[in-house]
Amino acid sequence: MAKFSRKLKGGLPAINTASLSDIVFMLLFFFMLTAQVRKFETKVMVKVPEATEVTKLERKDLASYISIGAPVLSHQAQYGDDARVQLNDSFKEVDDIRDFIAAEREARSEVDRPFMNVVLKVDQNVRMGVVTDVKQELRRCSALKIVYSARRAAQ
């Protein structure tokens, strides 16, 4: 008892926080390694439909993204609210897909080119007309591997 009270007399010793920064740095490096930086801002509103049979995209670096949906509110004054195609970071027409695919192919190494796929991020309220046009254009460029982006539905 006596020993206990004597210890209190000195006041609380400061906790050494030197290792706290190390822990946070560890977390930081983990996030830096596992995540990749968002490539571009989305200019179209896309809420992909639900599906139960979804599979994971294996190689993210080999995917090219085509988004189709109504422009976001800040762009609607300029572009209207009809479904538009977004390639990388700007609004494009269906005819521009050819150049886009060619550029994407050029950016990958020759070994990887056969494994490239196109991810179609299409809003669930979009009509199939524009999607069909995009699909036809992809077929013409022989970019045949496609992924219809979807959310995993609650079982």
Partner: protein, 194 residues
């Protein structure tokens, strides 16, 4: 005088690291890309003669989605909930019904001869079908195939499909190949486009 040890105050170090951590948390996206992977058919060669093999009527099931998002499967209006069963019946044809696709005994590599169905599902849609309905139909079709593959793996190998090794998975894929043809686009509605 005693030795003087000056320690640098490292309390703010953690704050700096936290700031960087939050920056990375905000700017990165961790969400994995999920989706239905499909293969588009190549554009047919224009010079090539259109001598496509006469496909027997019983071997094709047309799944049609009209502009009102109604589904027609094999000339019958159908609800989306019934579609999977219909596709299953079409692919498996357990009773060898003469109206359902015929089967052909083919030699499967690493497995042996097995009757493989000749059935093809042709998915057609209107230009004003909503993408949501189209995806739900695609999902049902793939679900039917996945279920059949699952049952076949359990029956033949005693393991679920995902636990099979690569060779066995290939066998299952060959026997129940996803024959979903996304048809050449055309107007399925009577009135002209626009």
């Amino acid at each position: 005088m005693a030795k003087q040890i000056t320690t640098i105050n490292t309390a703010s170090m953690a704050d700096i690291a936290f700031m960087m951590l939050f920056f990375f948390l905000v700017t990165t996206n961790l969400d994995v890309d999920l989706g239905l992977a499909r293969m588009l058919p190549p554009i047919p060669d224009e010079n090539q003669q259109q001598d496509d093999v006469k496909v027997n009527r019983r071997n094709v099931m047309v799944v049609l989605i009209n502009s009102q998002d109604r589904i027609l499967a094999g000339n019958q209006p159908i609800e989306i909930g019934q579609l999977k069963e219909k596709v299953r019946e079409f692919i498996l044809n357990p009773a060898d019904h003469p109206d359902l696709p015929e089967k052909e005994i083919r030699d499967v590599e690493n497995f042996g001869p097995y009757p493989i169905t000749k059935g093809v599902i042709s998915l057609q849609n209107d230009r004003s079908t909503t993408y949501d309905t189209y995806m739900r139909v695609q999902n049902e079709l793939i679900k039917a195939y996945n279920e059949i593959r699952e049952e076949f793996s359990m029956q033949q190998f005693g393991k679920p499909f995902i636990k099979l090794d690569e060779v066995e998975q290939k066998v299952v894929r060959t026997i129940y190949n996803q024959a979903i043809s996304e048809a050449e686009p055309r107007d399925v509605s009577k009135r002209a486009r626009r």
